[in-house]
Symmetry: C3
Subunit: 207 residues, 3 copies
């Protein structure tokens, strides 16, 4: 049973990594980068958030460095985008956004959970969940010399923080782990999808 759940989680984690890698590789194509640039952006987008989190919570070497499979997945994502870029770019936008929301939920709650395991204060564990979810995209945008999209508009990091908060509070209240995980992932996913459907944005100070 344990093994089955672990294998399932691992598979889901690798699926999320592949998806984020694909998104990074596509951003590299739009930024006119070469194949190496695609691999780097695929890797940065897919595991940048997890690496940042691991450095910050003191879990070194980061799992994406210790486990070669993350690198292999990033390479596969870049190669897929390179050879099948027309197919990849024909994936309906709404499908990509939905998958991305699922990946965000997964990264946010796994990041917050790992921070708790490393004894980080619950409030900062929520922040670590947010960083795991959006750190990769932030590194990608910095490498493209752009202001990270996540800072400018849209309810994206907020959804990650909500999911992480639900997870941390649920675990601190000793509620059943699986129920908490499902509730946390759903909270993140649903807020993100609602923000997409209803064009929600965070408030700004009108300069």
């Amino acid at each position: 049973m344990k093994t089955t759940v672990d294998a399932l989680l691992s598979t889901v984690d690798f699926a999320g990594t592949l998806l984020f890698a694909l998104e990074g590789a596509i951003a590299a194509i739009h930024g006119n980068l070469d194949f190496l640039g695609m691999v780097v952006l695929a890797f940065a987008t897919a595991v940048g958030g997890g690496i940042l989190r691991d450095l910050l919570i003191g879990a070194t070497p980061p799992s994406a460095i210790r486990d070669w499979r993350y690198g292999a997945i990033a390479l596969a994502g870049a190669a897929t985008a390179f050879f099948f870029h027309q197919l990849v770019q024909e994936i309906p936008v709404m499908l990509m956004l939905t998958l991305d929301a699922a990946g965000l939920a997964l990264f946010a709650i796994s990041g917050a959970g790992k921070a708790l395991e490393y004894g980080i204060h619950p409030a900062m564990a929520i922040v670590m969940g947010g960083i795991t979810g959006v750190g990769g995209g932030t590194v990608r945008d910095v490498l493209l010399a752009q202001v990270p999209a996540v800072l400018r508009a849209d309810v994206y990091a907020t959804a990650a923080l909500l999911g992480a908060a639900v997870l941390v509070i649920g675990l601190k209240l000793n509620l059943p782990r699986i129920a908490v995980g499902v509730a946390a992932a759903s909270a993140c996913f649903l807020l993100r999808m609602a923000a997409i459907l209803f064009h929600w944005n965070l408030p700004k100070v009108s300069g």
Copy 2:
């Protein structure tokens, strides 16, 4: 006595963090970021230098991750800038620059001192003081996709390095700690203020 001094230092440290957080949040407003972007830039500006220093000297997890109060202060700074941005922007420029110079002095000498405690070579401890002072602003500017102001103009990092150097040399000569700290902070603060008043800049190679 010890407790009083510690409490004083801690209060001053939190005051400096709040000030830098406010500056980060204001930069976010000018960069047209949303509320989440304001929180991220407040946090990055306020504790980015200390986090960089802690990662480089091997003090993990960095204190700004271990202690949730830094994150709370950054959030408070962003919220203040968000709700009272007109008031905040009416603070006289000279007052902000003076407070900022005081914050810079504080961060530079505390950063150099911590590096020495972790057994870093005195010359590199001075560099760590500089990084603690200006690292946060550098991360903020990178996130805004700008060349960090500190690299382009002005005597700013130089003041941080001077303060850190006075501290490290004083401590290595076994002079009294409090006198050394006051002298180091004054050196940084006075050089920075003189640079502002007399419009000092570092030399450049005219390309």
Copy 3:
């Protein structure tokens, strides 16, 4: 004998660091930075890759922080570029490119070797070799608010990865260390020089 080889390696390492520091300082001049900016870019270009690698493989504090001589070399590189910038800029381009290719080879194989010593998986040790070779230039370009050149064009990181791969495979096959090192450095250097001479570029997806 051991001492002679070590002293030789150390000298070569410092020579490579000085060269990369010079290149960083020259980039700072072109970016209109002041003297402090030149020192920062010299340091970032020369040791940024090694620091990134050390943080990622868990070798903290990074050697460039533990050993003050790297900082001193970066300062010397910046000072040289500042005082003798006309002489430095008259160095023939081809000579600089050749020296740079040699520095790249050195950094890539030393980085991959160190990662192996720290128990990193061979595939990721190759990546660490690449990061050691090109990480400094990437940090420099990010600080200049530019898309890192290494991601956009040219066979540069690819040469670093090739050299690192030859080293890792050779060591894993238990071939003689010196022969493997020479073969790995030659592979990187020759691929890089061929790419320069024949204007090789990596393929891109035509957006």
